[in-house]
């Protein structure tokens, strides 16, 4: 596994909501093994970017390439099959299914055995084993049989990441995975992300508000502002970036700290 | 020319008539998010109550039209306050099932109270009779309906856009939580809107007494499906859409019946499916 192998790139990717531009001719490239964070003040276009890359929003202009292949018009599930997956800022799990079944769905999807209407689910030994391993990894084994909707908020967030991970993505976008978590849980989750990233199976792209975490965790930081990239580079470089400081020294900066400091 | 004008007029009057019934259905869906299957039954009750006032209490069409639907409002209040209120949070099928239960109950009650046979209304005074238009007679009452339809539409529009109550209703329809956060008593508002929607349906029923010229215990069942189609094509919850859809459908089916006898339900439903496929939110619905 070598660095510098481009997984996903965008060419002049643009998006508008009415007259508001949320992505302006973005040319970005995400490389294998580089833990990237995307930051920016509220309304900078972070979530929009993830939505465009993962197929959750149709691309209005420009194109998206995955491993050199144009996937601009690909539906979500096809992108996931290729290895682009995500978690959501707002919880997006299967609330009435058990924790185990939550992660089983993506695992089944990958195994290609999900169209079998008469096979017993308990007979899917390999899928079960893999799902249990995954729960172990995100630390949810102890609640594997609980109904997902009944978990604590922190556990639900873990599950959100777990379900995304279960799709075994090459490139995984985590949209504010720690939103609403208490500091202890937050550290725990980010630690496991760091570990998983080192494990090298998936490349992570993180959207995060907590600057400390972003700078300590990431290999690369992208700063978005009003749909434009105003900074892109290693954390140290970004810290020194004048434009970024300018943007973050305004109200927006304090705003960011207020939000993240609330917990 | 004579033919086309009359076909148009027939279409306009039937379209406006459907609009009157569909308006309440649309309003209730728009604000409460409930598909009121029993709307046709309230229409029927409106007709029967108006008929009763007209025949047995005051032989005056206007009084019948005023008092009949008001009685139905009382029924609507009971339905909302004691039953419907408890299923808002449940899924769509439960709401349909509940309102369906009321269809059965009301249809049967009407049969018990007013008898199984059809009833025909007494004279309605000055609105009876016809006027010649291009050498063919056209009923005054249908002209009246053609006038009442837009009148109701404009009144509704003014009420929703220009009054304080209307603004609150619109606020509640777009965001229930927000409305209750700014101090609107949402449950009471819902009751009010439901009862008002029922009043519109019952008004349609009251107007139907001379229009259809016949009251039968199952009369709500034929109208509800037409009102549904209109509400869906117009965009569920959009009054403007329902108005236009009713107009288009009325004129279209009138022309269809006259010039393309093969035209029937099939094409109406094709139209409905086509609209749903191309613009799922309907002609004027907001994409929720």
């Amino acid at each position: 596994m070598s660095m510098g192998n481009v997984l996903l790139e965008t060419r002049k990717l643009s998006n508008w909501f009415g007259k508001i531009c949320t992505a302006r001719e973005l040319d970005l490239a995400f490389e294998e093994g580089v833990l990237t964070s995307i930051i920016g003040p509220n309304g900078a276009g972070k979530s929009t970017l993830v939505n465009l890359l993962t197929g959750n929003l149709p691309v209005q202009a420009g194109s998206v390439l995955f491993r050199g292949k144009d996937i601009t018009r690909f539906p979500i599930h096809k992108r996931v099959r290729m290895g682009v997956c995500r978690s959501f800022q707002i919880l997006n799990i299967f609330p009435q299914l058990s924790v185990l079944r939550n992660v089983m769905i993506p695992v089944l999807a990958r195994s290609g055995r999900s169209m079998r209407p008469f096979a017993g689910i308990s007979g899917e030994k390999a899928v079960l084993r893999e799902s249990e391993e995954l729960l172990e990894k995100v630390g949810l084994s102890r609640v594997r049989d609980s109904v997902a909707g009944a978990l604590s908020h922190g556990d639900q967030r873990l599950l959100e990441v777990g379900v995304a991970l279960a799709a075994a993505p090459v490139l995984l976008f985590l949209d504010e995975p720690t939103a609403g978590m208490n500091p202890v849980e937050r550290v725990r989750l980010l630690e496991s992300i760091r570990e998983l990233s080192r494990g090298g199976r998936s490349t992570f792209v993180l959207i995060e508000h907590d600057m400390d975490i972003v700078f300590s965790l990431s290999d690369r930081v992208i700063v978005l502002h009003r749909g434009e990239v105003i900074g892109d580079g290693p954390p140290d470089e970004i810290r020194e970036n004048a434009r970024v400081r300018e943007v973050y020294l305004g109200d927006e900066m304090t705003d960011v700290f207020r939000i993240t400091g609330e917990e | 020319m004579q033919s086309i004008v009359h076909v148009c007029l027939a279409g306009l009057s039937s379209g406006m008539f459907i609009w009157l019934v569909a308006s309440g259905l649309t309003l209730i869906f728009g604000v409460l998010g409930v598909l009121n299957f029993a709307h046709g039954s309230f229409y029927m009750l409106g007709a029967y109550f108006s008929y009763t006032v007209l025949r047995h209490l005051f032989p005056n069409f206007w009084l019948g039209l005023l008092l009949g639907p008001l009685c139905v409002c009382a029924v609507g209040f009971v339905v909302e306050r004691f039953f419907l209120r408890y299923v808002y949070r449940l899924a769509l099928p439960y709401q349909l099932l509940l309102t369906f239960a009321f269809v059965l109950i009301f249809d049967n009650l009407v049969k018990i109270v007013w008898g199984a046979g059809s009833l025909t209304p007494p004279d309605i005074g000055f609105l009876a009779g016809s006027v010649p238009i291009l050498g063919r007679k056209f009923p005054v009452y249908n002209l009246f309906i053609i006038g009442v339809g837009p009148l109701v539409a404009v009144a509704l529009w003014l009420a929703l856009e220009r009054t304080w109550a209307g603004r609150i209703v619109r606020a509640a329809s777009s965001d229930r939580e927000m409305a209750s956060a700014i101090g609107v008593r949402v449950p009471a508002l819902y009751t009010g809107v439901f009862v008002f929607g029922i009043w519109l349906g019952a008004l349609g029923g009251g107007l139907a007494v001379p229009y259809v010229g016949l009251l039968t215990p199952g009369m709500g069942e034929t109208i509800i499906i037409e009102a549904f189609i209109v509400a869906v094509i117009g965009g569920l919850g959009s009054l403007k859409g329902a108005f236009l859809a009713a107009l288009v459908l009325g004129v279209l089916s009138s022309f269809g019946t006259r010039y393309f006898p093969a035209f029937d339900m099939f094409l109406t439903f094709i139209l409905m499916a086509a609209v749903l496929l191309v613009r799922p939110q309907g002609l004027f619905g907001d994409a929720r």
């Binding site: 997956c85 609330p95 009435q96 769905i105 | 099932l97 439903f269």
Partner: protein, 327 residues
């Protein structure tokens, strides 16, 4: 814990066996009318069981399943009138016709969800109704397709099983009912069923699990259409006619009603709902001509008092009763 699970499984096996035995012995002790009603219950049960794969299983409210029921009925009708009177082949033809129609209608419908899906299926169902009604030369119009006979089932070696008697036809219906019950049970507990549940719970997440949600919806739609077709063809054999109103929306509403009555989140819900639906009406009708009124009131009570359907509520009560011991 494992002990509990074993006893649970044993109890369930006993319950299933007792249920099957009770059903199988209906023709032995019950009168003809009860046998007939039991068949109606089972046919409605098949319709509702399949339907509930869509409503309870996938979270889609279809208002057009009458069309597939009618496709099954007319499919069997045409097959047995023009090709072969073999009832089993006829049923197969009915199911095939229903599945084809479901594929066609589903292809257009599954892109929408919720109320739009309900309205689209309603529109398509009514188109089918209208087609059957108007294609008089082929379908007999509103008179329906009549004179469909219940011939014997040919087996290997020239042996034939006669099903013309109701008490015998009962077993064919029972066979298909149990088969459907088993099939729906398997589907609910299969990987495919889990994906459907995922779609019901969260379609977006299912898509982000790498699954083409629309295809799964379509598959569920076609499968439930197959059950509707089976029910339609069985009813046609029972009543020896097929009629346009089978495709009408009022008939499409029946499985919805039945599933909700029994409870959409359980396997047995639609079956219990079917029993209630048929038996309740029959009982009410014996006491009063105003059956609609009383039927409506009973419905009201069930919706207001038994939100999760009868089976769901009974199960909750049972859980509560068991509560202190388990906890």
């Amino acid at each position: 814990m494992p002990d509990d699970r074993v006893t649970g499984r044993l109890l369930r096996a006993i319950a299933v066996l007792a249920f099957v035995a009770a059903l199988a012995s209906v023709p032995l002790f019950a009168g003809k009318f009860v046998i007939y009603l039991a068949m109606r219950v089972m046919i409605l049960g098949i319709f509702a069981l399949g339907y509930n794969l869509l409503l309870g299983g996938t979270g889609l409210l279809s208002f057009g399943h009458g069309a597939f029921y009618a496709a099954g009925a007319y499919g069997l009708g045409f097959f047995s009138l023009h090709l072969s009177p073999n009832p089993l082949l006829g049923v197969a033809a009915g199911i095939a016709a229903a599945m084809l129609l479901a594929l066609l209608i589903g292809f257009f419908s599954v892109r929408s969800t919720e109320i739009y899906f309900a309205m689209l299926t309603l529109a398509f169902g009514m188109m089918v109704f209208s087609l059957i009604w108007n294609a008089r030369d082929i379908t007999g119009g509103d008179d329906g397709l009549i004179g469909i006979m219940r011939e014997s089932i040919p087996l290997f070696g020239g042996v034939k099983i006669s099903i013309s008697q109701d008490s015998r036809y009962y077993f064919l219906v029972l066979f298909f009912f149990l088969l459907s019950f088993w099939a729906v049970h398997r589907i609910r507990n299969s990987p495919f069923g889990l994906v459907l549940a995922g779609i019901r719970e969260n379609a977006k997440r299912t898509e982000f699990a790498g699954l083409a949600v629309r295809n799964y919806r379509l598959a569920a739609f076609v499968i439930s259409g197959a059950f509707a077709g089976l029910a339609g063809s069985l009813e046609t054999l029972l009543e020896s006619n097929a009629r346009p109103f089978m495709a009408h929306w009022t008939h499409s509403a029946e499985p919805v009603l039945v599933s909700l009555l029994g409870g959409i989140q359980t396997l047995t819900g639609p079956v219990v709902g079917s029993i209630l639906f048929v038996a309740m009406r029959e009982i009410v009708q014996r006491f009063t001509e105003n059956w609609m009124l009383w039927f409506g009131i009973v419905l009201l009570v069930i919706i207001m008092g038994f939100r999760g359907g009868v089976v769901g509520v009974v199960r909750q009560l049972a859980d509560r009763a068991r509560g202190p011991r388990g906890g």
